[in-house]
Each structure stands twice: as structure tokens, then as C-alpha cells.
Symmetry: C2
Subunit: 200 residues, 2 copies
């Protein structure tokens, strides 16, 4: 038995921490929620949180990965157009729609994660490591490449997804204008993939 099972109390505490963090983030301005707050709300010591999640950013990432599971499931094996089967252009539109909705629904968490990365002290386990972003980028990039092989799919995927993290866009999502953003992305993508999509 190489992998010892997680102890029952440890598992309980982990769940408590995640739940407490979720709750606090829903209620408060995300970058005012300190780890101590989370620990207190979960009825646990600060050290425990770090022991479990490594850092503030690690905690946020754990929350994000938990929340994003359903979306990834739908992409990998759900019905088209989000899942496999539809033409790449449609899948891309569907994905961006879904991502915008997902981001809008988890904007506090996203913001908190950004903030955690920005303020973390030992700047080692830096960005790029975020598996959620990597998955999204790979998906978008592949779909663009499939629809329009001549384009720089890798770069365009970064640009499209990157804009979701921009402050001005985030502020828009806080204001509940997710539909507006989704519409804008649709226009941008149809321009890109459409018949008139310019090459250089």
C-alpha cells in the first residue's frame, strides 16, 4: 500500500477549509479574505491550511479545479457543440460562451486567485503552471488551428483567453455584463474564422 489513505480528520478539515473559503469569497471582496480568516471560519489553525494547500494560491487553485470539473467534463465527453462532434468554429463559439459564463459565475474566485499569485512571496511555482488555463488554451488553440490552419493559433488563443483576466473586463463581469462580453467574443471569433478573416 504505497498511497496511505488520507486520515479522516484531515479530509474533514480539508473539506471545511474549502467550504469556508468558498463562503468567504462569496460574501467579501476577494482580496480582503486572508488565510487567517479562512482558517478561523473553518475552525482550524493557519498552519493547517498551509500544510494542506501549500500557499494561498494553492488553496485558490484547489477551489478552481473543483469548480471547473463539470465544464471540462462537458467539453471532453458532453454533447455537441460543446463536446466533440461539432465543427471547430461552432465548438469554439460554444466553448467561449461557456467559459465566459463560468468565469462570470466564479469571478470572485478568479480575482482572488490572481491576487494570490500577485502577492505571493516565494515567486517560485509561478504561473503557466495553472492546469486550468493550460487546458483552456490547448482547447482553443486546437480548435483555431483546425478551423484556420494558417493562423497563429497558439498566440490567438492566448489573446482571446487573456482578455478574460483583464481588469476592465473583470470589472464588467462583476457588473453582471457577461452576456455582453460573450457577444463581443462571438463577434471577434466569427471575424477571425469567417470568410473575411484576414491573413498577413
Amino acid at each position: 500500500m504505497e498511497e496511505r489513505r488520507e486520515r479522516a480528520d484531515a479530509a474533514r478539515n480539508r473539506r471545511a477549509i474549502l467550504a469556508a473559503a468558498e463562503e468567504l469569497l462569496r460574501r467579501n471582496d476577494p482580496d480582503q479574505v486572508s488565510i487567517e480568516d479562512v482558517a478561523a471560519a473553518a475552525g482550524v489553525g493557519k498552519g493547517t491550511v498551509f500544510h494542506r494547500f501549500g500557499s494561498r494560491a494553492g488553496l485558490m487553485r484547489a477551489l478552481m479545479e473543483e469548480r471547473v470539473l463539470a465544464l471540462h467534463e462537458a467539453i471532453a465527453s458532453g454533447p455537441p457543440p460543446l463536446g466533440p462532434g461539432a465543427p471547430p468554429g461552432e465548438r469554439l463559439q460554444a466553448f467561449l460562451d461557456a467559459v465566459v459564463r463560468h468565469v462570470a459565475g466564479n469571478i470572485g474566485l478568479l480575482t482572488a486567485h490572481e491576487h494570490a499569485l500577485a502577492t505571493q512571496r516565494h515567486a517560485e511555482g509561478r504561473r503557466e503552471a495553472n492546469p486550468v488555463y493550460l487546458f483552456w488554451h490547448g482547447h482553443v488553440s486546437a480548435l483555431i488551428a483546425e478551423a484556420r490552419p494558417a493562423l497563429d493559433a497558439d498566440l490567438l488563443a492566448h489573446v482571446l483567453l487573456g482578455s478574460l483576466h483583464a481588469d476592465s473586463v473583470v470589472r464588467m463581469l462583476w457588473r453582471g455584463e457577461a452576456d455582453r462580453l460573450a457577444a463581443g467574443m462571438r463577434v471577434l471569433v466569427s471575424g477571425l474564422l469567417g470568410p473575411s478573416g484576414g491573413e498577413t
Copy 2:
């Protein structure tokens, strides 16, 4: 007049601080440069820096505004296509080219500014206040609206400019791939504005 002139020693120190900050940012990872470092390099006390610039973010903003002057000048009254006179599609392409180059050339400063905003304590004088961004956004938004009145110019301008601040894109600029980014933006914009609004 109620506006007394700045004292000579104060002006000298302000210049010294700006120069020192510029130097340190050029040489070091931007979010490792503390205000104390800047103060020490400029040969002044930490308090002086805060007197002059209010906060870390204020110092960064002052540097940014200084550096961006030439670009704004060229836009407002330089020769086309960057300056007035060219059709909006061309002006937009020229502007984005110029902005990408500008951002690439000042990526350390930009990063430091982001970091300063992210870590600042009294979260009052928050974003949106950045006059440089406002100017850029207004310009892009106006050009899009002129070229394609049916589009949501305001939003699209936020998306286009916002992507410049995305981590993945910033990393690309650190790696010196500004031309690649500029090309991608060009494709995106010509797709947006379509055959009638794109290049000629």
C-alpha cells in the same frame, strides 16, 4: 497664485527617484524592487518617495506617464496613419502596432505597475483611474465605432487592450515576441473590421 513652485531640492530628488526606479526596473525582476530599494538607489529616504508619489503605484504611474508622452503626441498630432488623417481602420492598426511596441519596450514597468496595484493596501484610488489606459481605450473605442458603428466598440476596445495585460501575453513580450503579437492583433482587427474596414 496658490500654486507655489516646487523647491529646487525637491525637483532634484524627484528626478533622482525616477531615474533610480527606471534603472532598477531595467535591471531586476520588477516585483522584487521595493520602494526602499528605489529610495536607497536614489540616495533619499523612503518617506521622501512617498511624499512625492503617494504610493508605489503612484511612482509607477508617474514613470509610465513620462514614457508614454511621445506616443500620445504622435497620436494626437503626428503624421498619419498613427496621427489624424488616415481612415479609422488604418489608424487602428497603426495604433495597435505602436502600442504593442510601446508595451514591449516597457514591459518591466508595466509589470511593476500591475504588481503595485495588486498589492496596494488602501484599495481606494483603484484602477479605472489610470489615465493612460483611459486614453488608449477611448482612442481604440472611437476608431472602432467610426469604422463599424454596429459593433460594441467600448467592449471590444477593452478586450483588445486587456489582452495586452494578460500573463501569457506579457510572458511572450518578455521573450521578445512583440512582432508576433502585433501580427496577431492585426489579424484580429482585420477580421473585426472586415474587408471594408481593414487594410487598403
